[in-house]
Point group: C2
Chain length 593, copies 2
C-alpha cells in the first residue's frame, strides 16, 4: 500500500487549484526574493567573511533545500525554466563547495569549520536531510543528477562518520529529519546503505548511553517503547514519520505499535481543532494531555506540516480513514493559516485566539499579522513544498484497490492491471460535499473516505471508507452532507469548557473583531438561527453569516446575571483566512446557545 506519487495527480481547479496557482505565481517567488535579500542563497558559496552583511546561520541550508524541493515539485507539475535556472545556479554552488570527503554545510564550512559534527544541538544532519529531499525532488523533476550525486556522496560520508567510525561528538541528530529523508532516498535508490543509516539513527535514539536523555528532542526513551508525544513538536513528528516509514519497510511491528500509540496520543489529546500541534510555546513543544490553550499556543506551521507527514506515513500502513481525517484537518486549517491569501506573508505560530491587549502585557507576544520573512524562516519554504505537493496524500493504492483520502478537482493517472487508468474528481469541495469520480481503465475498487465530520452520512463504511467497484467509463458520486456543526472539546480540555467551534465540512471557522466588534469572547452564536453560507471573492471557501448576540455595555464591573442581549449577525470566516486585513482580535472557540 502506497500513497500515489503526487505528480501522478494534476490539480485542476477549485480550492486546491487556488492554492496551487498561488504557490506557483506568488509564494515560491516571494520566498525566493526574501531568501535572496537575506543572503541565504549566496551563503551556499561559502564566501561570507567577518564584516559582511547577512552572516549565515546554521540552519540556512535547510531553508534553501526546502525551497528547492518545493520549486522542483512545481517544475515537475508544469515547466518553469526560471525556477530551474535558479536551482541550477544553487546546485553549482553546492557542488563547487562540497568538500572532497562529501561534507557540505555552508555555515560550518564558512564560519566554524573546526566545529563540524561536534555539537548535537546544531542542525547539520537536519540540513543534510532537507537537502537529500531536495535532491530527490529535483532529480525526479528534471533528470539532472548533480545535486543527487552530491547528496549521495554526502550520505556516504555521514554513514562513515556516524556508523563506521563513530567519530562525531554525538550519535543521533538533535533535530530529527534526516531519518525520513534517508528512507525516501532508500525508496528512490534502493540502496540498503541508506535504509541502514536511517535505521541506525532510529535504533540509537534514546538507547545510546553516549547521549543525554532529553525528552525535548525525543531522546529520553528507546523509540520502540514510547507512548507519549513529547518535546519539540516539529522534531517529534518528523521523527515519528520516519518511524512509521521504517516500520512499514521492515515490517517492524514493535515500531508500528509505538507509532500507533503516538498518533493516538497526539490526535486524541494534543491537537488543536485546527490540526495545530505544539501547545507549549516555551520550548515549541507538546504540552501535557488536553492542554490546548488558544491565545498562547505555539502551533507552528511546520508542526502542522509534520503531523500531516506522520499521518501520511501511517496511511501507507493501515487502511483507516482517521489518517485522512487528520491530514484534511491540518491542510484546510492550521497549515493553510501559515500563509496569507495573497501568498506574501507568513505565520510561524498559529494561535486560535488573538487578544492584542493581553499580548501587549504578556511575556509571550506572538505576532498578530503575518510577515514576509522570519529570522528563523523554516515555515515559508515548508509552505512552498507542501502546497506544491498537495495531492501527495490524495490517493493510496494497493494493487487494483485505490483509496481516495482527499478531495479536489483533479485528474489522476495510475496503473491498474498493468495499464494506465485515469481517475478524475469533479467537485467544488469544500463549498459542497458532492464529489463525482469518473473512471477510465481496467476494473478496480475505489474506496472513498467518509470524513469524521460527516456524521450525517448514512451509507455502509469499511474502516471509514465507502466502496465502489469501477469499470471503464463509470462515474460515481459521493454526496457528503455539508452541515454546520458546533464542536465541543473533551471535558479535560479546560480552556474550551463551555465553548464550541463552528465547523462546516473540513473548515474550522473563526470570528474577527474587524467584522464582529470588540469583546469576541462575549459573543454567543445562535445555533437555531438561519445560517447564510456565502461565496465571497478572495477566500476560496465559504464565509458564514449567523445570528448571534452579545451583552450590552455595562456601567458596572459586576452585576446580577441577566438575560439582556443585543442581537446581530456574526460573520465567520475560515480559520485559515484570518489576519488578512489589519491587525485585529480573533477567536475560534465561542459560546453557543
Amino acid at each position: 500500500m502506497k500513497n500515489l506519487n503526487f505528480e501522478q495527480t494534476k490539480i485542476k481547479d477549485g480550492f486546491w487549484g487556488f492554492y496551487s496557482d498561488l504557490d506557483r505565481n506568488a509564494i515560491v517567488k516571494n520566498v525566493y526574493d526574501r531568501f535572496k535579500e537575506t543572503g541565504r542563497f549566496d551563503a551556499l558559496r561559502c564566501g561570507w567573511r567577518e564584516g559582511m552583511p547577512n552572516k549565515p546561520h546554521h540552519f540556512w541550508d535547510s531553508d534553501v533545500a526546502k525551497w528547492i524541493e518545493g520549486a522542483a515539485y512545481l517544475i515537475e507539475a508544469a515547466p518553469a525554466p526560471d525556477l530551474e535556472a535558479l536551482i541550477d545556479e544553487m546546485v553549482e554552488d553546492i557542488a563547487e563547495n562540497q568538500r572532497t570527503d562529501g561534507y557540505f554545510n555552508s555555515y560550518f564550512q564558512t564560519i566554524e569549520p573546526s566545529k563540524i559534527f561536534t555539537d548535537r544541538r546544531m542542525h547539520e544532519l537536519y540540513c543534510a536531510g532537507h537537502m537529500i529531499e531536495a535532491a530527490i525532488a529535483y532529480h525526479r523533476a528534471t533528470g539532472k543528477d548533480k545535486l543527487l550525486n552530491c547528496m549521495l556522496k554526502n550520505v556516504d560520508m555521514i554513514y562513515r562518520i556516524f556508523v563506521e567510525e563513530q567519530s562525531a561528538a554525538f550519535v543521533t541528530p538533535g533535530h530529527p529529519e534526516i531519518e525520513l529523508a534517508l528512507l525516501k532516498l532508500y525508496e528512490y535508490t534502493g540502496d540498503k546503505k541508506h535504509l541502514e543509516l536511517a535505521r541506525f539513527f532510529i535504533d540509537q535514539r534514546g538507547s545510546n548511553e553516549r547521549e543525554e536523555k532529553n525528552p525535548c528532542n525525543q531522546s529520553d526513551i528507546p523509540l520502540r517503547e514510547v507512548s507519549d508525544a513529547v518535546g519539540h513538536a516539529v522534531r517529534a513528528c518528523y521523527l515519528y514519520t520516519a518511524m512509521a516509514m521504517l516500520a512499514k519497510i521492515d515490517g517492524d511491528d514493535k515500531l508500528k505499535k509505538a507509532c500507533d500509540r503516538l498518533f493516538h496520543d497526539i490526535v486524541n489529546s494534543k491537537m488543536s481543532i485546527t490540526g495545530g500541534i505544539g501547545a507549549d510555546h516555551s520550548e515549541e513543544k507538546f504540552s501535557y494531555q488536553y492542554d490546548l490553550p488558544n491565545s498562547d499556543t505555539y502551533n507552528e506551521t511546520c508542526a502542522a506540516i509534520s503531523l500531516s507527514m506522520f499521518a501520511g506515513a501511517m496511511q501507507e500502513m493501515e487502511v483507516n480513514s482517521r489518517y485522512g481525517d487528520v491530514i484534511e484537518r491540518v491542510y484546510y486549517n492550521g497549515f493553510l493559516s501559515g500563509v496569507s491569501l495573497d501568498g506574501e506573508r507568513f505565520f510561524y505560530t498559529n494561535p486560535l485566539e488573538i487578544d492584542r491587549k493581553k499580548y501587549a502585557r504578556s511575556t509571550y507576544q506572538p505576532i498578530c499579522e503575518r510577515v514576509k520573512v522570519f529570522n528563523c524562516s523554516c515555515c515559508p519554504p515548508n509552505v512552498v513544498r507542501m502546497l506544491a505537493s498537495i495531492s501527495r496524500y490524495m490517493y493510496t493504492i494497493d494493487g487494483d484497490t485505490v483509496y481516495c483520502n482527499q478531495f479536489g478537482e483533479s485528474e489522476t493517472k495510475l496503473q491498474i492491471g498493468g495499464k494506465t487508468a485515469v481517475l478524475t474528481q469533479t467537485t467544488d469541495y469544500p463549498y459542497s460535499g458532492k464529489i463525482t469520480f469518473h473512471y477510465s481503465g481496467e476494473p478496480m475498487t475505489l474506496y472513498v473516505r467518509i470524513p469524521d465530520w460527516c456524521v450525517e452520512y448514512r451509507g455502509d463504511t469499511e474502516n471509514g471508507f465507502v466502496r465502489f467497484a469501477l469499470s471503464d467509463g463509470d462515474s460515481v458520486t459521493v454526496d457528503l452532507p455539508m452541515e454546520i456543526h458546533f464542536i465541543e472539546a473533551n471535558p479535560y480540555a479546560q480552556d474550551n469548557s463551555g465553548r464550541y467551534a463552528l465547523q462546516r465540512g473540513p473548515i474550522v471557522y473563526c470570528m474577527e473583531e474587524i467584522d464582529n466588534g470588540e469583546n469576541l469572547r462575549d459573543i454567543t452564536l445562535l445555533e437555531n438561527s438561519e445560517a447564510k453560507v456565502v461565496r465571497e471573492n478572495g477566500i476560496p471557501a465559504p464565509v458564514i453569516y449567523l445570528g448571534a448576540e452579545r451583552r450590552p455595555a455595562a456601567d458596572h464591573l459586576y452585576r446580577l446575571k441577566n438575560s439582556q442581549r443585543i442581537s446581530f449577525t456574526a460573520r465567520l470566516i475560515p480559520y485559515f483566512a484570518f489576519a488578512n486585513r489589519e491587525a485585529t482580535d480573533m477567536l475560534v472557540w465561542t459560546m453557543v446557545r
Copy 2:
C-alpha cells in the same frame, strides 16, 4: 466626618469574633515566631556581620513595624503582657541603635551605611512610615512614649533632609507609605510639620524634575491630575489613601477629585470580584481596564488591604455606601484569603483559579498552598494589624449622626451630645442578614449601609444608607435578604465571559477540586436547583450545596455539541476558605444555567 477609632468598638462574637480570636491566639504569635526564626527582630540590634546567618533585608524594619502595630492593637483591646514585653525589647533595640541625627534603618546602618538616602528604590521611607504607625499605635495602647519619641526624632531628620536641605539623592519615596503615616501622625500630634512633610511628598510626586517619570511607582503625572490607577497596586493605594486623607485635611478639592477618579477606575474596571487588585503579576501592578485574569492574577494580600484603606479614607470625606461596599468585599474575600483558617499560613497572592497543571508549565507559578513565611513577608504582619483593627471601618461619625458601614456582633462606645452612648449590634452576619441595633444614649441619627449586593432590599435609602432616629433604649433591626446571587462581570472583562460568580451576602464562593472532582471549568451550576446553606465546623461562614452538572468523560478530543450531562451536588465554600486542606484546583467563575 470621621471613622470611629477602632478601639471604641469591641468585637464580641460571630464572624469577626472568630478572626479576632484567631489573630490574638494564633496569627500574631505565628508571625512573631517566623520573624524571630528568620532574624527580623534581631536585626534591630544592627549587629549582623558578614558570615552570620539571616542577613538583614532592606524592608525588614517594615515587617517588624507592622507586627508591632498589630500587637499594639491587640494590647489595646485586651491586656497582653507577653506581647508588650516583646515590643518593649524591640523598642529598646531601636532606641539604642537610632543615630543621634534621628536616622534609623537596621539594614542601612548595618550593611550599607554609605548608601543612606541614595537609592529611591530602597524602602527607607517606607520602613519609616510603618514604624511611625507602630509608634502611634503603641503609644495609644500603652502610653509608653519611647518608640513615639524615636519616630518624632526620625521625622524631624527626614524633614530636614528632604524639605530643608534636599540632600537626599531623591525627592519622594519609591514606595509610598510614609505619606499616610505622617498624616496619621499629624492627626495624633497636631504638629503642622508632620502635615507639611506629607504634603511635600504628595505635591512633589510626579511633578519634580529631579525624578524619573515612572508609572510603576505613580511618579509619572502630578497627583492632582491622575485619572488612571497604574503601577504597583500596594504602592498605589497606600498613596491614594494619603491623597484622600490630605484632601480632607486641606479641603483640597482638586486632590479629592483625583481620588474620586482613581477610586472609580479601580472599582469599576480593575478589581477582582474578591476585592483583589493588581492583576498583572509581572510587576505586581494594575493591568489595563477590565483585564481581570483568574489563575495568574497577582492580587497581593497587601494590595487588598491597601484598597480597603483607600476606601476607608474616602468614607471620611463623603457619605456614600460604595466605600463600605468595597471594604466589605475586600475584607470578606480577597483579604481574608491571605490567611489560613488556623492562622498559621499565608498567601502573598490570591488567585481566583488554581490550575496546577497549567501552573507547572507556566513561567508564572504562584504557590497553591499557603506557607508560614515568605522571604518578602509584608503580608503576614499586615494581616495581624488589619485583623486587629477590623472595626476601624465599622462606623463613621459626624456630630450626632452615625453611619454604620460594616456589620458584626459588637458593642461600641461613642460620644453623642457630649455624653457617652453605647451602640450594640446583635447579628450572626453573614449567616443571616438580620442585624439588630440597640442604643442607649442621647438622641442620634443612625444610618445603616444597605450593601450593593442586597438588590432585594425595598426600603428608602439616602446615598445607600437607611436612616433611623434613635433615642435611649431604642432597638431597630435591619433585615437584609440573603439570597444566592449569580454575578456577571462587565462584557469587557473577557476572562469571565459566559461565567458567573456565586455570591451570598458579602461572601464570594468558589469550588475546589477536592470536593467537586477534576475539570472544575467544565462544571455548570443549576441556578434553579435548591441550595442548601449549611453551617459547618471550622469555617465561619456558610457552605453551600447546589445542584450541578458536568460532561461525562469522552474518548474523543472533539465531537458534536451534545447535551449529555452528569448531575451531582456541587460543594461551594467561601472564597476566603480555599486552600485549607491539601493542594487542589480551585475556581470562582463558573458556568450557570
